[in-house]
Subunit: 204 residues, 2 copies
């Protein structure tokens, strides 16, 4: 099918309107009370249009959350792995603990154990790519000699994200910046990483 530029623009406008409507409704009413019908009405699109693109309200909110989350939590490379991980985790904590994204993600997570398709989508669209990006940032630091060869990088990613999920899911107060800094230091120490502070990396 050949799509004209103007119909692509219309589609993108409808997509954006749908994602924004879903986030707004989630903030106003709580995840449990959001319906595809209400999203369609607020976005000015038909229910049929929504169901052509997404299988459920959870899938709509997942795309909205993923867009916002990835935009807000880039993996920067300033050459200082500890500082870059702090930046990333602090942003993730902020997104996960404030509306509209925090409550939206809590709602998505609440559905995973009885919606296998949504659980797969979360893995494929959000968690898998983010996990890979975090591991890649650590691998870069490893290539630069800051982290020993053979270090267990996937475990390190779980040790970084795990505590953030732990507090989010249990509705505990989010980590402050000092605790995030301590977490990053502990994970890097667990890997046997070279401490920063102007020292040369171990590239022997």
């Amino acid at each position: 099918m050949i799509t004209s530029p103007s119909s692509q623009r219309r589609s993108e406008r409808s997509r954006r309107a749908t994602l924004e409507a879903a986030l707004e409704l989630c903030t106003e009413k709580g995840y449990g009370r959001v319906t595809v019908e209400a999203i369609a009405a607020r976005a000015g699109v038909s229910k049929k249009t929504i169901y052509r693109w997404w299988p459920s309200k959870g899938a709509v909110l997942l795309e909205a959350f993923t867009d916002g989350f990835i935009g807000a939590t880039p993996f920067v490379d300033t050459g200082d792995i500890a500082s870059d991980l702090r930046t990333h985790i602090n942003s993730a904590v902020r997104v996960a603990s404030t509306p509209p994204y925090g409550p939206a993600y809590a709602g998505i997570l609440s559905e995973l154990h009885h919606d296998g398709a949504l659980a797969e989508a979360v893995q494929e669209q959000l968690v898998g790519p983010r996990f890979a990006a975090a591991e890649e940032r650590l691998r870069k630091a490893q290539r630069q000699g800051w982290i020993p060869a053979g270090a267990n990088l996937p475990l390190a990613v779980e040790m970084l994200y795990g505590p953030v999920y732990y507090r989010h899911i249990l509705c505990k107060p989010p980590h402050d910046e000092a605790t995030v800094a301590a977490l990053v230091d502990h994970v890097l120490r667990a890997l046997g990483a070279v401490a920063g502070g102007g020292r040369e990396p171990d590239i022997s």
Copy 2:
């Protein structure tokens, strides 16, 4: 009120029957389809009796889960902190990933963000006491000289439990014993703990 021993026995029998019925129904139908009415019918008690003791089905299942979880994941002290943490985390992973407790806990967690009373009960009855017990086991190892004074023990507990929650909530395959062993080693190394293996603890 003075309660006679026989009425106490009857109460305890009803309590047990209610908890067992709730777990059975959760396994058979999934958390979302369990109702207080069905729990009462299966347990042979009245709905009024259930509501006298628990405010919601989530609260019934929390008590059932807590009873089972605490029984299955004791904090042993064999004198080897790494081995004892492995024992504890392996049991926690097993309970969280198998019926009836795993799905029951997933259901409870799915309600926390819209049921503040249940979130508080989870903190007070389950997470708070378990967190304190884990921290106390680490503190004992610290007093014995295995872990340096000044180590951040609460952070260590989050680093141990966080990855377990991360996989549970995201429906990822549970940690195998080798990964749990690596996790425990990494957390102890992050604390600057003395490696085990017959060496003397550092009590200087």
